[in-house]
Amino acid sequence: MALSAFSFTFSEEVKVKEVTFNELESQYLNAQQDTVLVVNFWATWCAPCVKELPSFQEALDSLSNQPVKFLFVSLDFPNRQAAVEGFVKAKKLNGEFVRLTDADPNEWINKINPDWQGDIPATIIFNKSSTKRWFHSGTLSKKEFLSEITKLIQS
């Protein structure tokens, strides 16, 4: 069940699932995974987010044999749903993409991390044995997030 939530088949039509924060929590964040989960909050209009996506894609490729899953959560506005799907398709991005539909971030930002002020990009990395999710807001270097992922794979 948990695995099926992550299955991603690449097809001509790219579908970016629309999820509420409750669904994001139950289907992804709190789903018991035997993998490390990297969750990146981004938007097509966010230049630093778009700039850091390729490094996640490289990591995703180089870690394809490792127990690591990447989830990209778009915070684009509702009228940008097609644009997000077009972007993912045009850039041939791998990993799973969803778009969060909750209108009031004040209701959920602290549940991701109380230190987060709502600036994007923001990334969390954890596995099911993590007592605290690793959190970073602002652009990440590949070295920074790879070191965190590697630590969790080995733990």
């Binding site: 209009w45 230049a47 506005f77 209108a103 004040n106 209701e107 709502g118 600036d119 994007i120 807001s137």
Partner: protein, 200 residues
């Protein structure tokens, strides 16, 4: 050797100062740092020279879709509270990497949008750092006290950036209403998604 040690201390002190300014963030109850910044009309605007009950300081910019989504609402807030809690908008983004946020484009934006409030350029980004602003828009509601301005509310304007007609919680306006009524602010801090401030 003494020189070297002194040099090292200076470096260390600088490093500490930098990391402090980067991570400092104002809390509700703190006094608000004063600023004197250039407005789009060329005049310098100083916070402490304001004679109103308070001020709505909003870190914002020209290009960010979240900031743009709030321009209409910010104009309305200023129209309603200009005599008590006027809006002071501040753009802290690095104009070199983001030319759309440079001073000339600020002037253009203010004219196009008909801003009737100051739109100030925080060219050195010192004010955004002093306030601990991280994104646009990022709101600080200030109230005047005997010792300058005090922070009374930090965060979002309301609970629906995309659809103004679906707003159910006017966080900022509720805080202003509390202050004007002489009551403590009920919701002192909220969070919203915004564009990260583009640091130099």
């Amino acid at each position: 050797m003494k020189k070297l040690v002194t040099g090292l201390l200076v470096v260390l002190a600088t490093a500490l100062t930098v990391s402090w300014t980067q991570t400092s963030s104002l809390k509700v109850g703190d006094s608000a740092p004063n600023f004197t910044l250039k407005n789009v009309d060329g005049a310098m605007v100083e916070l402490n020279a304001l004679e109103t009950e308070g001020a709505i300081v909003i870190f914002t910019c020209n290009h960010c879709p979240y900031a743009k989504a709030y321009e209409g609402r910010i104009k309305k807030l200023n129209a309603r509270y200009k005599d008590t809690y006027p809006v002071i908008a501040i753009n802290p983004n690095d104009a070199v990497r983001y030319p759309s946020d440079n001073y000339e484009n600020m002037k253009k934006r203010a004219k196009e949008q008909g801003f009737k409030f100051p739109y100030l350029h925080d060219e050195t980004q010192e004010i955004a750092k002093a306030y601990g602003a991280l994104k646009t828009p990022h709101v600080y509601l200030l109230q005047k006290s005997t010792n300058g301005f005090v922070v009374k509310y930090i965060g979002a304007i309301d609970n629906n950036t995309y659809e103004p007609s679906k707003v159910t919680k006017k966080y900022l306006e509720n805080a202003i209403t509390d202050l004007i009524a002489g009551k403590p602010v009920k919701t002192k801090e909220t969070k919203a998604i915004g564009c990260s401030i583009k640091w130099k």
